[in-house]
Symmetry: C2
Subunit: 338 residues, 2 copies
Amino acid sequence: MLLGGQTWEFKSKPVIIGSAAVVGPEEGQGPLAADFDYVFDNLEIGESTWEKAERKLLEHAGTTALMHAGITKDQLQYFVGGDLMNQIISASFAARSFGAPYLGVFGACSTSMESLAIASMMVDSGNAGYVLAGTASHNCTAEKQFRYPTEYGSQKPPTAQYTVTGSGCAVVAAKGNGPRVTHATIGKIQDLGITDPFNMGAAMAPAAADTIVSHFRDTGRTPADYDLVVTGDLASVGLPIVKDILKRDGVPMEQTDFQDCGLMIYDREKQPQVIAGGSGCGCSASVTYGHILKRIASGNLKRVLVVATGALLSPLSYQQGESIPCIAHAVAIEKEGI
Amino acid sequence: MLLGGQTWEFKSKPVIIGSAAVVGPEEGQGPLAADFDYVFDNLEIGESTWEKAERKLLEHAGTTALMHAGITKDQLQYFVGGDLMNQIISASFAARSFGAPYLGVFGACSTSMESLAIASMMVDSGNAGYVLAGTASHNCTAEKQFRYPTEYGSQKPPTAQYTVTGSGCAVVAAKGNGPRVTHATIGKIQDLGITDPFNMGAAMAPAAADTIVSHFRDTGRTPADYDLVVTGDLASVGLPIVKDILKRDGVPMEQTDFQDCGLMIYDREKQPQVIAGGSGCGCSASVTYGHILKRIASGNLKRVLVVATGALLSPLSYQQGESIPCIAHAVAIEKEGI
């Protein structure tokens, strides 16, 4: 149900009956390592190309999520997914493997929550009983496509982020046990004119702020209603900016724990190669479906707002002098029975 | 409501209260010219790059659809769109201009019906009152990105299709007058191993057949229930293949008029440059939202099934020796009051 503004309330509270997060070796050395379902010890993920490696991450996370949900591929009714690759080939080829009817989506790194929002709407509206939502990214595919092949060893400014090698998937269902999806706030494009693709955090911060403000306005909730508000991947540059914007706008974010997936997934002191922190579709997906859902399951968190951010540029739009349109989609997840 | 299988039935029958189709000069010389809302007389669409031209087509069609719907940008609640460009920049930059909350989707040329299906579900489930669904393609952006820049003048085999320069948009609403969206059948990936990107029609035909068979199975309808079943863009190679498959499967397609948007939009005798026929997101979108909806409005057609097909390859997946995963999404549209 449209609650007003840009937020959906899912009256039936669709259930995440199973989820999984798989990551690469560097994420497996970070502080959340124990929460991931599988850590690959090689960036190649046993494949012959980086793109096939990324697809395999998604297939592995999806298959594991189905196993955790206790359903078979035949029972799966829909797959909603996307990724950063041109023509979202990781999701489309994984969809071939999953075999279910498929809706491809794209919101750059916000794809994680865009797919969860659509999957939850499908379930809440009676249009599906079981939907797999998921996304993936790989450091080397993203470097190659958006910047330079890793092998060039090009230098980066201190605002640059590090694309997560990882995937996260969730099975959303009409019935069952698990965390419940209660709301989704769909973001509007925000573009304040930033043109530097090595400063995504600053570009995306206004989109995160706008969606957070909209979510509280539409739901009548306040930050105090959440144990954790977590942005997708603003990292060390973007998170302070969104905090400043929300402070200026009078949103009492001090009432909650306010974190960023891009800062949670790596130890920036021990892993200086990540520079400002993590990014990529797999960042918020693996942190949410690995770490956060486990904290909800353990009773450590009762209600969380995940605000996944996306920078909707392409290398071509950048080369043509365009600024970076950004978006953020927020999904509210709560422990069952609260 | 999930009708079973992979088909949604929209009980409230969301209304297309306004639509628009705009095209380039070649489409304006084709047999459907009179049905388009605007024909640009130049491929540049007055812009400095092909990509900006494609975006302008989408903005023009979207703005015109809003005008036809009698609603303002402020009343628009969501935009669901996508396109063929890397990172769907045409839709994302157009979303910046529309200003509404935005869901980016990608299904290659099937994006036209994927976006209409999602928009209709949003309206049917009470999650939106007004949603704009739309997509666009441009011959020169597609040639440049997927094949060779047009300026190279490269030759093509007789199975090749010609990307339509055009855009189509529809405003889907909970109330109002206009054609009604009654069902959507979401496709599964079909991949029979074709690797030739100059033979999309043959690659996509099995996806169209699978979705058509699923639609009739799920709804209990037969081809006789439709005045027209129209595939997205299989063109002269793909349409005979899908007809053969459906004949083999015992689907009595002779009960209906069975056409293809890629064959309708051009006059292949007078426009030999289109080779096998039209393709691209803008093909099924402009034919549906221009031509077909006008035939429904005039009473010439009562019920139509639009089966938009998409080839979900990227230049990179092709270069890496992958076959072409294909999909088709079908949406049933009927005249109000029947």
